[in-house]
Structures are given as structure tokens and as C-alpha cells.
């Protein structure tokens, strides 16, 4: 009985090893599909996965409008102070004061691309871009203001 189990163990082990070796052997002999990308050569045709996290950006529409309400949820969510939201008060046509962003300052050199700010944003104002060539000679260029100059909030975003 014990011997039967023992031999079955060996046979099962060998079978699984051979299965694995057949897999890698197949890849070795069928050297056509390559899963890696030849990066500097294929810069123009580079295809990145949809969820690639390169840097935080704030999309603007054609009227130079963004969706940020200045709620500072991203600033609170950020684990290492990468985002600073500087708010101001706009006066609406009705004469009411309304909170809006003056500047959304983003420190790329601090960012760990953890995506927590994007998840925290209630109005989908920021997202992760697919750019990744961030090298510059002056580190001041890494501190970015995400909202375009003169931009304002989109209609209907609260």
C-alpha cells in the first residue's frame, strides 16, 4: 500500500515536471511571438497598457474647462504630499461666492504613482497619463501646475 502511494507520487511528480518542460520547450522552439517591447526603437509605435500609470494630469475640454471643484480630496488622499490644491473664491453671476481652484500644484518628483488621488477624486477631474519620459535637467520643471492658465470649471460639475 505504502509502496503504491510512493510510486504514484514519483509518477505524478515526473509527469508535472515533463508538462512544465514541454511548455518552455514549446516557447523555445517557437521563437516568434515576443512579449517584450523594443523600447527606444519603437518609440513611435509604442503601445502601453490602458492602466499604465505615468503621471497625474487634469484633462481639459476644448473650452479650456476642467472638472475640478477644489474639494482637496486628492490632497488628503496623497500619502506623501505630492498634490497641493490652492483654492480661491469665485463670485457667481448671482452674487454668491463659490469655491474653485486657483492652482493644483503637482510635484512629479515626489509622486509614487500610487493612484490614490485619482481614486479619491469625486468628479473625475484628474487621471493617470501614459507619458513616462520625465527626465529633465532642472528639477524645478518637475513641479507642475495641472490646471491650464485661465481655465475654469465645467458647467454642471458640483
Amino acid at each position: 500500500m505504502f509502496l503504491k502511494e510512493y510510486i504514484r507520487n514519483i509518477a505524478g511528480g515526473l509527469k508535472s515536471l515533463v508538462t512544465g518542460m514541454r511548455m518552455t520547450g514549446y516557447y523555445f522552439t517557437h521563437h516568434k511571438e515576443i512579449i517584450t517591447q523594443q523600447y527606444p526603437d519603437n518609440r513611435d509605435t509604442l503601445e502601453l497598457p490602458e492602466r499604465f500609470k505615468g503621471e497625474v494630469v487634469m484633462p481639459h475640454n476644448e473650452h479650456n474647462e476642467h472638472r475640478c471643484t477644489g474639494c482637496t480630496a486628492c490632497e488628503l488622499a496623497c500619502p506623501n504630499g505630492t498634490i497641493k490644491v490652492i483654492t480661491k473664491f469665485d463670485v457667481t453671476p448671482e452674487g454668491k461666492k463659490k469655491k474653485a481652484i486657483d492652482k493644483l500644484v503637482y510635484h512629479l518628483e515626489l509622486c509614487t504613482m500610487c493612484n490614490l488621488c485619482v481614486e479619491a477624486c469625486p468628479s473625475d477631474a484628474i487621471k493617470m497619463a501614459q507619458t513616462f519620459e520625465h527626465s529633465v535637467f532642472d528639477r524645478n520643471q518637475l513641479t507642475k501646475v495641472l490646471n491650464n492658465p485661465g481655465s475654469k470649471i465645467m458647467e454642471g460639475v458640483e
Binding site: I10, L17, G20, Y27, F28, H31, E33, I34
Partner: protein, 358 residues
């Protein structure tokens, strides 16, 4: 056809004619030493690029493809890089042992080269206990690993070295038993006798299933003895950074790296010699015409072809199987390989006594 042995004989007779026999012997020793170091350097370059290419192809990658045609000069560039790097010695280490360990690793690998038959009549030293010599010297390499791990004064290094010790001591047994099956069949420990016994067919074909089992056990034990994945617990980069050579850098690291590949070459050469006939061409007993045709392929090509085939198989293992845990490693040896090897050697002895092999 010009063969290596003719060249060797001519050089020998010329040296003996020119010089005193003692000086001639010394000069021959120097020539062999230089040739061995040249072989080592060449093998190191070839095996590193081969390993990287094989691993890349098995993982659906391209591998090194920048330096030289198709990246084939990558290992040469890496060698130059390692040569100009600083060889650091940590201040808390045992400096003498720390600096000695890589050389012990290289010396052990170099000594193993002696009894291997590279081609017909081309042996460095065809001693009458060649197989025993290989089994004995290959255990010296563990001393260098232990020395490196201990003298680094680093917990990871020490853990890696201790694991390596346990591993090599265990796997030496089953490697020895599988080597012994061929010794039983041949009745000689001399490497040239073992190869000549395979003139009418390699042992893996002549010896029925028990020799095939012994061959598989030898391959597993050889992979374990050279500390390669799936048995690379001594290095285990995901657990121990680099195991016993964590603290080594520059050329001292390169010597360990080179010694690993030389050991792989030597165990594969031993496997090829014992089971696949060494430099002996593919012969089938009785088929004289076929055998003469096979003899036209030079014996060195047969030897290197078989050896590189086995090296490829070991690389195939490495890039397919995940690393074992230390308890699984010892279970595999003591509960499976050793009992099977013992039963197997009984079967082989029976075959040898009754003369059932071809």
C-alpha cells in the same frame, strides 16, 4: 585527418628532443595550464551568453541584442566591466578567508578538468581512478562556498553557505550511486576504459531501464551539486539577495560566477562521458559500415555536442522549475533519490553479473 592527439604527440616529441625530460615536462605543464585557462575563459563567455539567450527564448523575450551581432558579444562586454570594477572587502569580514574563497572555487573547478576525455586520446591526465577523483574533488567546491559565507560576516551569506553545505553533502550520495552504476557495468574507474566500453553503443542504450533511471538521478544530483535552480538555495536571490557571494564584487564575484559555469560544464562532461559515451561517436554494435561513417565526425565534436546538449537540458530545468524549499530539497534526496538509487544499483549489479546488457 589531423587530430588533437597527433598535435600533442608531436609537441611532446619535439620538446623532449630539444630539452631535458624534466624541463620538457614543466613546459608541457605550463602549456596545459594556459590551455585550461583559455578553455575556462572561452567556456565562461559562451555559457553566459547561452544561458541568457536560452532563458530569454524560453520566457518569450529576445535577450541581449545590442552588443555585437545579435548581442553575442554581451558577455565579453560584461567581462570587461567586471575587470575594471573595484573588488571591495567588507571591513567586518575575515579578510584572508574572504579573499581566498573565490580562488578555492576556481582551483576546485580546475582540478576537475584533469581526467576528462576531450577527444580521442586527448586527456590531461588519464588516471586509473578518474571517476573517483571527480567525485572526490567536486566536494571541495563546498569548502569555498562555506568559506565565502562564513568570512563575509553577513547573515544572508552564512545562511546560503549552510544551505549549500547541507545540499551538497546530501546530493553527493545519489550522484555517487548513479556514477557507480556505470562503474559496475564497466568494471573500471578509468575514464578512457569507460569510454572504450561504449564502443558498441552508449551505456544509456545498452544498459536497459536501470541506466536510464541512473541517468535521470545523475542529472538531478548534478543540478543540485552545482547549486543551480531549482536547487539554487545557496544563492536564492529572492530570499538571500545573492547568498554566499552577497558581499563579493568585481573580479572576485566573477570568479565565483565563472566557477559555477565551469562546474556545470564539468558535471555535464562527466554525464556525457558516463552515459552518452564521451567522445565516442554514435555506434551500434555490429553495424560496421554505419560505425565507420560516424567515425568521420571528429571525436571532439561528439564530446562537445553531447556536453552542450546536457548543459542545455540543465538550463531547461533552470528556466522551467521553481525553487524548492530546503525541506523539500532534503525530502527529495533522502526519501526519493537515495532509495531509488540503491535499488537501482542492485538491479544494475544483477544485469552486470548475468551479462544481460548488450
Amino acid at each position: 585527418m589531423i587530430s588533437f592527439s597527433d598535435i600533442a604527440t608531436q609537441i611532446d616529441s619535439w620538446l623532449n628532443a630539444q630539452f631535458d625530460p624534466t624541463i620538457a615536462l614543466l613546459i608541457e605543464g605550463v602549456i596545459i595550464g594556459v590551455a585550461a585557462i583559455g578553455l575556462f575563459a572561452g567556456l565562461g563567455l559562451v555559457l553566459v551568453i547561452m544561458e541568457r539567450k536560452v532563458s530569454a527564448w524560453m520566457q518569450i523575450r529576445l535577450g541581449p541584442n545590442r552588443v555585437g551581432p545579435k548581442g553575442l558579444l554581451q558577455s565579453l562586454a560584461d567581462t570587461v566591466k567586471l575587470l575594471v570594477k573595484e573588488g571591495l572587502t567588507p571591513s567586518g569580514s575575515d579578510k584572508f578567508l574572504f579573499n581566498l574563497a573565490p580562488f578555492i572555487a576556481m582551483i576546485a573547478a580546475m582540478l576537475l578538468l584533469a581526467p576528462i576525455g576531450f577527444a580521442r586520446n586527448l586527456y590531461i591526465w588519464d588516471l586509473n581512478i578518474g571517476v573517483l577523483y571527480v567525485a572526490a574533488i567536486s566536494s571541495i567546491s563546498v569548502i569555498s562556498v562555506l568559506m565565502a559565507g562564513w568570512s563575509s560576516n553577513n547573515k544572508y551569506s552564512l545562511l546560503g553557505a549552510m544551505r549549500s553545505g547541507a545540499q551538497i553533502v546530501s546530493y553527493e550520495l545519489s550522484a555517487g550511486l548513479s556514477i557507480l552504476t556505470i562503474v559496475v557495468l564497466t568494471g573500471s574507474l578509468r575514464v578512457s576504459d569507460i569510454i572504450m566500453a561504449q564502443e558498441n553503443g552508449w551505456w544509456i542504450f545498452k544498459g536497459h531501464i536501470p541506466v536510464i533511471i541512473a541517468f535521470i538521478i545523475f542529472l538531478i544530483a548534478a543540478t543540485a551539486e552545482t547549486n543551480r535552480a531549482p536547487f539554487d538555495l545557496a544563492e536564492a536571490e529572492s530570499e538571500l539577495t545573492a547568498g554566499f557571494h552577497t558581499e563579493y564584487s568585481g573580479m572576485k564575484f566573477a570568479l565565483f560566477f565563472l566557477a559555477e559555469y565551469i562546474n556545470v560544464f564539468i558535471v555535464c562532461a562527466m554525464g556525457a562521458t558516463l552515459f552518452l559515451g564521451g567522445w565516442m561517436p554514435f555506434h551500434i554494435g555490429g553495424w560496421t559500415g554505419f560505425n565507420t561513417i560516424m567515425d568521420y565526425i571528429p571525436s571532439s565534436i561528439w564530446f562537445f555536442g553531447k556536453t552542450f546538449f546536457l548543459i542545455f537540458v540543465m538550463m531547461w530545468f533552470r528556466w522551467t522549475f521553481p525553487r524548492l524549499r530546503i525541506d523539500q530539497l532534503l525530502n527529495l534526496e533522502w526519501k526519493y533519490l537515495l532509495p531509488i538509487g540503491m535499488v537501482n544499483i542492485l538491479l544494475v549489479t544483477l544485469i552486470a553479473i548475468m551479462g544481460w546488457h548488450f
